[in-house]
Symmetry: C2
Subunit: 326 residues, 2 copies
């Protein structure tokens, strides 16, 4: 019997390189993840060794998917990935230092056209094609993880800026002369308040500034994270709620500023912190609205990504392939 | 003799509606202002009366330019002008209140296709076609006048946002819980520090916080403006220089945040405050650089518009015509 038409549709490879692990898979145009797996990002101090391992892991998947003739290309999301140059540049969380011509190295090894962008941009494209931003032409994606990443879509296209580095919203200054960001040496950027590390620091600050009892006082410092704060908050712990209120206050001001920049239809939030649900969303929404001028009030949606966290990164990276010029 | 080809090139009408006066003219594709004039924006409490006066003033110009057959269309810049709807909405500085379908009214009267946008967006298009941003695909225009306006170009296109209201950078919060903006009720937006009013308030603050002598102490409060501060500063007045340093500190933080959003090739500054030259540009540049993460440092230009202030608004508005779809 002849193969059905859908089985011959082109496929894309998505690769998401993180500081610890690299996830990859083969995705069809509808966002179905047909095959996927993961390797460590830390096994090879030389990038070539890493790419060889990636190739060995993907080869059987490519065969199972019908051979490399069906693969339209490879999309890669990586921290500090530059869309224009195809390089990763001085990524603090990766073991390969300096400027790495990642897209070219992968393209040469796989003999498939390869596009690279940073991980948050890849997530934004994933949301636009398969997620909460489906059909939107103007939105902002904010990833609230270890750090705060962002991808901005305007007029239906990712905003890369003149050099490919646009969308570093986690580094915008929200509190001038505020808390120190140890990685950058800057004071008061969003990332030191609204990331995983930020929430921990917010919790320490709230606990130090109050004498009231709190469940959080029993948590050893090294275990204090947004999950612990969440658990305390849903048990009615007053200070735990204050931690989310404070985090939401800062995030809300930041979102108001972003909205007044590009007037997105929605802000899509993604990552660990969003698991706190309304505990973080309510103060964020309130402080965003309070800092918006009238023309923007009560019309910008704050949405939480509904893509599975483990799949979203691969989907987003693979979606880059459908954006390729040809 | 047959007319030369260039004399038959299409022309555009540019109209810039300000709170006090409305400037208009006829412009060719190279940005030559062939005819121009001005009427008051305050003579008619009904918008129809205003449009009739505008029509009567433009009619002889259109005839002199070769008749309306040569006019490709009309571009209008106005405060709170919305590109998508062609309306001006609740513009605080205009005498016509509520939502005015300005583009449609002008189109009906002149029988020419008409496009409207806000004044800062029009200025950005003018800079891109004829000014300091010529050839750039990614830049940010900041107008430092009575207020602070902005137009953002990314991927070669104006960022309008989902509703046409993008680019309200003057209202982004730079100092949370900072100085009150009387027009919006918000605290700490850029506009209360880096506009004409802002500089005056900065001067009052610097004078009140210091006991040192200053030439500015002899200036009556109602005459205190950025020109007076400039004059004192070039005479070596220490506190006058502090006023510009403070203004530049705030503006520099704001520009750093804008750069980390869209990574523009340049920020173009326009308006009265730029007349202070390096007195304002130097601290602005320093504080922008100090708040940028490494990947953006020492590569974003801060440029001052070199278009004549009186022409720029008309040029920018007329340039909208060449962007029209049909």
């Amino acid at each position: 019997m002849a193969k059905t038409k859908s089985s011959l549709q082109p496929l894309a490879i998505g690769i998401d390189i993180g500081g610890t692990g690299t996830k990859f898979g083969i995705v069809d145009r509808n966002g179905n993840l047909l095959f996927s797996s993961e390797i460590s990002s830390r096994n090879h101090s030389e990038i070539e060794g890493f790419i060889n391992e990636l190739f060995e892991a993907l080869l059987p998947m490519i065969e199972d998917a019908g051979g490399s003739g069906r693969i339209r290309g490879i999309g890669v999301g990586a921290p500090n990935g530059n869309y224009y140059s195809g390089t990763i540049e001085y990524a603090p969380n990766l073991i390969w230092k300096g400027i790495i011509p990642l897209a070219k190295l992968i393209e040469n090894k796989f003999q498939l056209p390869t596009t690279l962008t940073n991980d948050a941009n890849a997530a934004a494209i994933g949301e636009m094609m398969y997620g909460a931003a489906k059909g939107m032409k103007d939105f902002i994606m904010i990833t609230l993880g270890t750090g705060v990443g962002s991808g901005i879509v305007a007029n239906g296209k990712l905003v890369y800026g003149h050099d490919g580095f646009a969308g570093e919203l986690g580094h915008t200054i929200i509190i001038p002369n505020g808390r120190l960001h140890e990685g950058t040496g800057k004071r008061g950027p969003l990332e030191v308040y609204a990331s995983a590390t930020g929430v921990k620091l917010n919790a320490i600050e709230v606990l130090n500034n109050n004498n009231e009892p709190s469940l959080l006082r029993n948590v050893p410092l090294e275990e204090l994270d947004s999950k612990k704060v969440y658990e305390a908050a849903i048990h009615g712990d007053k200070l735990a709620r204050e931690v989310f209120d404070y985090t939401g206050t800062i995030l809300g001001i930041a979102l108001a500023n972003f909205v007044m920049f590009s007037s997105p239809e929605a802000v899509i939030l993604f990552g660990g912190l969003t698991k706190a649900g309304e505990l973080i969303l309510k103060p964020t929404r309130e402080h965003m609205e309070a800092n918006l001028i009238q023309v923007f009030q009560n019309k910008i949606k704050i949405l939480v990504s509904h893509l599975r966290e483990s799949d979203a990164a691969i989907l987003g990276a693979s979606a880059l392939v459908w954006e390729m010029k040809s």
